[in-house]
């Protein structure tokens, strides 16, 4: 009997063969490239990679650099605000959209539309909108409110929020659509049951609907966080890191030192730190998500 059972290795053989190129790409390019980067971050490579190891020198310099620290702070502020606001705005818009309103298609298109624009275009559009001489400030001033002051991109203290506005404007449409799809997937009978039991609407959302939307939330969470870590083009288009270095982000530091500064070692060290930060977030989450299921 036992010999007649098909070997597990040969089950779905065609599918496995079809997956081989992708597996090779993932292993060689992603894992291999990552390992190579980490190894070379311990060298003093300049314009070209060279295997002369200098220990933790690059990391010491990295954490002693003002600009890197500012970059990390900016990413934290942008990350937390963007995560919370995207989820809240996306969910609220989706819940409103789900009230069987008229012209839903039109509204959905309008709200999703910014997502069709690249970050470069988004950044430029918001650079103009927030420019004190051409944009919002001058419009309000010309309407009569002369003392109105709104120039986030030229104020080092709040510039990151100017970027945040553009980021949210671009990204929340997609979150809304995903949430809306999730809401549509919830069975009508659940709403009816909640209504029969006399549960107030907000409680239905918070205690019944949102827990049921868990998979959607996880998808959106992954989308938003990956967008936060690779934040680069929006900054380049909108502020180029300015004023001064007030809106610098880690990805831009990596690029600038690898290519403009002709210092690969420093860029590798910075990108390794970025990878580490991502791992610190992902590993506990993956453990809870996948490790928990086996026990249950």
């Amino acid at each position: 009997m036992a010999s007649e059972r098909p070997n597990r290795l040969y089950r779905n053989l065609t599918a496995k063969i079809a997956a081989i190129p992708m597996i090779l790409t993932a292993v060689c390019v992603f894992l291999g490239g990552t390992a190579w980067t980490v190894v070379y971050s311990f060298t003093n490579s300049k314009l070209l990679p060279r295997a002369k190891f200098v220990g933790l020198d690059q990391y010491e310099r990295l954490w002693g650099t003002h600009r890197w620290v500012v970059s990390i702070e900016n990413l934290m502020i942008y990350g937390i605000c963007s995560l919370v606001l995207s989820l809240v705005i996306g969910f609220v818009l989706a819940a409103l959209m789900d009230q069987k309103i008229r012209f839903e298609n039109t509204f959905r298109t309008i709200i999703l539309y910014p997502f069709a624009l690249s970050f470069i275009v988004t950044g430029l559009v918001w650079q103009w909108l927030l420019n004190p001489d051409l944009g919002l400030q001058s419009v309000v001033r010309s309407a009569g409110w002369v003392s109105f002051n709104f120039d986030p991109l030229y104020n080092a203290d709040i510039v990151i929020f100017g970027v945040l506005i553009a980021g949210i404007w671009q990204g929340s449409g997609l979150i809304m659509v995903l949430m809306l799809a999730g809401l549509r997937g919830i069975d009508e009978s659940i709403w009816k049951a909640a209504r029969v039991d006399g549960i107030p609407l907000w409680k239905t959302y918070v205690f019944i609907v949102i827990p049921m939307l868990r998979p959607v939330f996880i998808t959106t969470l992954v989308l938003i966080t990956s967008g936060i870590v690779r934040l680069y083009d929006l900054i380049v288009a909108q502020t180029s890191g300015g004023p001064g270095i007030a809106s610098e982000v880690p990805a831009k530091y990596v690029y600038d030192y690898m290519f403009q500064g002709q210092n690969l070692g420093q860029g590798f060290a910075a990108s390794t730190m970025m990878l580490l930060a991502v791992l610190i977030v992902i590993i506990p989450w993956a453990y809870l998500e996948f490790g928990g299921k086996k026990r249950g």
């Binding site: 300049k46 310099r61 003002h66 180029s240 001064g244 270095i245 030192y257 500064g261």
Partner: protein
Amino acid sequence: MNTFKLFLAGASVLALSTSVNATDLEVTHWWTSGGEAAAVAEFAKAFDATGHKWVDGAIAGGGGTARPIVVSRIIGGDPMGAFQFNHGRQAEELIEAGLLRDMTDVAEREGWKDIVNPPSLLDACTIDGRIYCAPVNIHSWQWVWLSHAAFEKAGVAVPTSWDEFAAAGKALRDAGIQPLALGGQPWQSSGLFNVLMATLAGPDVLTKIYGEKDADLAAGPEMAKVFQAASDARSMAEGSNVQDWNQATNLVITGKAGGQIMGDWAQGEFAVAGQTAGTDYTCLPGLGMREIISTGGDAFYFPVIDNAEITAAQDVLAATLLKPETQVAFNLKKGSLPIRGDIDLSAANDCMKEGLGILAKGNTMPDVNMLNTEDTNNQLNDLFVQFFQDASITPEAAQERFVEIVRNKD
């Protein structure tokens, strides 16, 4: 049908005949502003006249954008025929890795050693006695450009030195004029600081600090004075919400700003705008404090390409770039000084003539690019762009960080 076949035959014959005589050579550079584009067109014209074809590969956005593209194309095995860098340490590693052609043969045939003036220009192209680049011009940073219209409006005489300019800052501000125009790009801030250092503290101080990593000198009282001056410049520059250097120059041209500290390439912009030195604007070499110019500039490098036709075209281009007539036509448009002293530049304007005079007297200093690697320049950019945009950083704090960069530089 027959006509079509004839057309095809004709086209292929045409293609064949041109490919025998001429080689397309892609030349990459970052000269895209009005004056720069007019100047590079002179090179293209001269090269096309030799029977080859100049394929223009301009990259907008300045050296910071263009250099990474050039380097990754060369490393990635897709080199262009020739490219422009600032000579100095920018191409050092590419040469050491054997990716750039040794042009010594062309240099000897054309006698570059005898004609290039000052000789330090050729030294910057030379590694281990071999010549790797063709210098095409001399650019110096140590200039301030002043708008006559702006000072007239403020009711102040056009200054003759940095000190007078700094003193006039308040009058300009009161008249609603931006005293000093400064773009937001990082290299402009560090460039401004290096100019203040070279003219107020002197070229020897700059050479010692950047060339010999003299951290004690960097921490000393002479540099403290420079940082104080930089702080004055910072308050004069407050409020100029522009990014690119030519936008800042435009503020001076239109009289919206009193002046700008910028290299002599700014002159091309004044020329394109139809302004004349002495009546519409004034230039002060060495900020009117110290007659000195740095001899940085642009040079062309030639990647190694395994193709005899391209190699031959590279040789022709290198020789063409340094020919007297090309040098005159190019430098007049570019506003830079020629790299050879034996040509007639009587068509030059007053500012260029002043520069030529200083060059003839030998009051030159090495350019920062020859002393610093791009890594160090990038660190300086980070420091000074922050300093000039954020008034809460004290000159003392900035000096401390400056000393740290000097101590750890390579």
